[in-house]
């Protein structure tokens, strides 16, 4: 870790020509975020005759990951939403040159004195703020749905998919992942994919920014019940905003009791908050399709993580654990969602 901290300090000095005596301390890897290696650290320097210090987050590409996307793609989302009514950490530097830290990375502000763990939502001092956190969570998702990707600089008009084709594009994308990575036949996810193809959803009411992994566990909240930052934008894309709503409602995020969506709000209340904030409607037909799609996408990710571990491309035990445990629960959730459990 000392070597990485020293190398990072040299990089930071290169990016801050006015800074003197740049050094990094307290560099520590953060567990989770299996798609990229994530570190927190404190950067110290002198500038204008004064001592300065700032907490930073370093996100470095791993040798293999759950989700393979370009780091510039994720960085652009932070740039687009900072600052706005969608809270995100301030993005600072994007570095593609591997000579600094062996692999590409980006750096952003560390939002301090926060928690992100799913389990913490049920424990003091956060549990008493569940309702407030829940309302805010789906309000922010509504704000993402409302945002204009062209104004944000995330898309040109020609990039916007046909509203009637959003579902097909995403389904094809994740079916390809299952095709490529399944370690054996997967009858449940195949049945769910066929169900989705047989009854397409209505066209998107509007095409917007889709976060792609909007769920409890992927935002920072504090002890006062505030959501301070939405994280993990690596799967953002343009599409039907209902995709994010469906993903956020996956029963996996509230397993095993499933009383509250994302361990925060009753499902219907979450949908109502999102509708009010986004100005869009989540009809029963459309949201059912996107909830089942979310289960398929989730299964594709768990299948892919199991493959990464099985092939030896990653030694991260979390990838093995999700393949063993979470994928099985997600299969059950798929059967329930298809009305085939009992």
């Amino acid at each position: 870790m000392h070597e990485l901290a020293d190398r990072f300090a040299r990089y930071a000095a290169h990016r801050m020509p006015e800074a003197r005596e740049v050094r990094a301390s307290a560099l520590a890897r953060i567990h989770g975020g299996a798609s990229r290696e994530t570190f927190r650290l404190r950067l110290h320097w002198r500038e204008g005759g004064r001592e300065r210090e700032r907490g930073l987050i370093l996100r470095r590409d791993p040798p293999a990951s759950l989700i393979e996307t370009e780091r510039s793609h994720e960085f652009r989302a932070y740039q687009a939403f900072h600052p706005s009514d969608v809270p995100v950490p301030e993005p600072l530097w994007l570095e593609e040159d591997p000579r600094w830290l062996e692999r590409p990375f980006f750096v952003m502000e560390q939002v301090e004195r926060c928690e992100s763990a799913l389990r913490a939502l049920g424990e003091p001092p956060y549990a008493e703020h569940r309702e407030r956190l829940g309302r805010r969570k789906w309000e922010i998702l509504g704000a993402i749905a409302r945002s204009d990707p062209q104004q944000l600089g995330l898309a040109l008009e020609r990039d916007l998919p046909d509203p009637a084709a959003c579902w097909e594009r995403e389904l094809a994308r994740w079916e390809e992942v299952v095709d490529a990575d399944a370690l054996g036949p997967e009858p449940v996810v195949r049945a769910a994919i066929r169900w989705l193809r047989r009854q397409p959803p209505p066209p998107a009411e509007r095409v917007g920014v889709v976060h792609g992994d909007y769920r409890s566990g992927n935002f920072l909240f504090d002890a006062e019940g505030r959501i301070r930052a939405i994280l993990d934008w690596e799967m953002w894309h343009l599409g039907d905003p209902l995709e994010d709503l469906g993903w956020s409602l996956n029963p996996l995020w509230s397993w095993p009791d499933r009383k509250l969506a994302g361990r925060l709000l009753p499902r219907e209340e979450a949908i109502a908050v999102w509708e009010a904030a986004s100005g869009l409607r989540a009809t029963a037909e459309a949201i059912r399709w996107w909830e089942i799609f979310a289960i398929v996408k989730s299964l594709a990710i768990w299948i892919s993580s199991a493959r990464e571990y099985a092939d030896g491309r990653s030694g991260d035990p979390t990838l093995a654990l999700v393949g063993w445990v979470i994928k099985g629960v997600q299969d059950r959730i798929a059967l329930e969602a298809l009305g085939r459990w009992r």
Binding site: P317, A320, W324, G328, L335, R340
Partner: protein, 148 residues
Amino acid sequence: MKPQVPRTLQGLAGTLLAELAPRIADDYAQKNAAVVAGLLLVAAEEWDRAAERRVAEHAALRRLFAEVAPRVESAPLRERMEEAARGRDPGLRISLLDQENARLRGLLIELHEHLEGQPGDAARALEERVWAELRAEVERRAIGFWPL
């Protein structure tokens, strides 16, 4: 006698969680140790039932194919199902059983898709037999440990 594999793995998980992990100063490594302990518990649960689960599943799938095959309209699919229904497990090694498992479950997917394309109540009833098998598969694989 020696300690059984499940007891050994459970003991290792306990040692890792209670004795070793708390002494790891690095937060990332400590949490990774907890994940490894979780995997040991999962392996303990799976080890004892691994062969039985596969053998039981194969028997259930062969029964299903034998029952449904006469009513499958596609002749090539029917013949493959009849052949699979007559099959036997190649041994008790998990790697060998997994090869057979993949063959049978691949055929189950084909059967399911075929039935979905068939009209009528009879096809729906057969399809329900496939859904029942999918429920049973999920239950056979269920693991008591939950990490989130």
